[in-house]
């Protein structure tokens, strides 16, 4: 065992026996955090499930008013950002410092494109009067008495995509910090834990979107049209 008091490094803090132990502790800690995030989003998925079961026809019409082609392309952009993120982690494993910076910047770029498209889609909802609570709210093809249920769909849509986008914005902040640190040469093959756990976070946000996309955009499209 190393003489801790004299050899403390980023990869081996005094409280750990080995570098592997420290890394395992970091990974486990991040996963525990992600589990709390799963439960956090889980409550919203439960709300969605209940209301979709209560008002299936209105939800089908409301879902079909979203542009699924833009949604699918944006899903692709987010998946690409997950790919570049895992490549950044791989560059960390190999200790390729320039590659870490490059892949983190690419991830930031794709994440930014995703958020930009999301902003465009939200703006479209304002122009179409599909904003819940709006006095002029009107969803075509839904009876006047059911407009409130349509508002419910858009409330859930904005809450869930908004919360997802908030996580992306936080992710962008994390990426910017990592890019600065990586550029200074802080990470190496023996210590790239921040890149690794940030990767877990980024992929988690990706997984949430993987479920949001079909649940919000693709409900019974054949009925809605």
């Amino acid at each position: 065992m190393a003489d801790h008091a004299h050899t403390e490094t980023l990869a081996l803090r005094v409280q750990f026996d080995t570098e592997a132990q420290q890394k395992d502790a970091s990974t486990l800690g991040m996963w525990i955090f992600l589990i709390t995030e799963i439960m956090f989003f889980g409550g919203m998925f439960a709300v969605y499930t209940v209301y979709r079961n209560w008002y299936p026809e209105v939800f089908a019409i409301a879902s079909s008013s979203l542009n699924e082609v833009i949604g699918a392309l944006n899903t692709g952009v987010l998946l690409l950002s997950s790919f570049t993120m895992v490549m950044a982690v791989r560059a960390g494993q190999l200790g390729q410092r320039k590659a870490i910076v490059m892949f983190l910047i690419l991830t930031l770029l794709f994440g930014g494109i995703f958020l930009g498209v999301k902003a465009y889609e939200w703006n479209e909802k304002f122009e179409e009067h599909h904003i819940p609570g709006q006095a002029a709210f009107h969803l075509e093809g839904v009876a006047p008495g059911d407009q409130g249920h349509a508002q419910l769909f858009f409330s859930i849509y904005f809450a869930m995509t908004g919360l997802h986008a908030l996580h992306m914005v936080i992710g962008v902040g994390i990426l910017l910090t990592l890019i600065v640190q990586a550029n200074k040469g802080r990470f190496s093959a023996s210590y790239y834990t921040p890149v690794d756990v940030a990767g877990l976070y980024w992929h988690f946000v990706d997984v949430i979107w993987i479920f949001l996309f079909p649940l919000l955009y693709l409900i019974d499209r054949h009925l809605g049209k």
Partner: protein, 104 residues
């Protein structure tokens, strides 16, 4: 405990590219299938494809494949709690109309 080099499994770029392509194809398929009328199975297919994509991301991009047993246990445990949240909520909402409430 093993040393870090032995501990870290480094996947090839080819593996990650294949996973990315599989994820992109699955996104295209789920979008295309949503236009077909499969009755109640539209939701089943959409959620199955989403779950398959989640597994690919978790196993490969999030390295669960190479994680230690404790991490795997925590992840499965988390999904179990999510299942309890969703299923027990639905046992209420899905069965409310089945039995009448006395006195109502």
């Amino acid at each position: 405990m093993s040393d870090p080099q032995e501990h870290t499994h480094i996947d090839s770029v080819g593996t990650y590219v294949k996973i990315l392509l599989a994820l992109l194809v699955a996104t295209g398929v789920t979008t295309a299938v949503s236009r077909l009328d499969l009755g109640a199975f539209n939701t089943v297919v959409a959620l199955s494809i989403a779950s398959a994509k989640m597994l690919l991301v978790a196993l490969f991009f999030m390295h669960i494949r190479h994680s230690n047993k404790l991490t795997k246990l925590v992840v499965v445990g988390g999904l179990l709690w999510l299942a309890i949240l969703l299923l027990l909520t639905m046992t209420d909402f899905a069965t409310r109309g089945i039995i009448g409430v006395p006195g109502k």
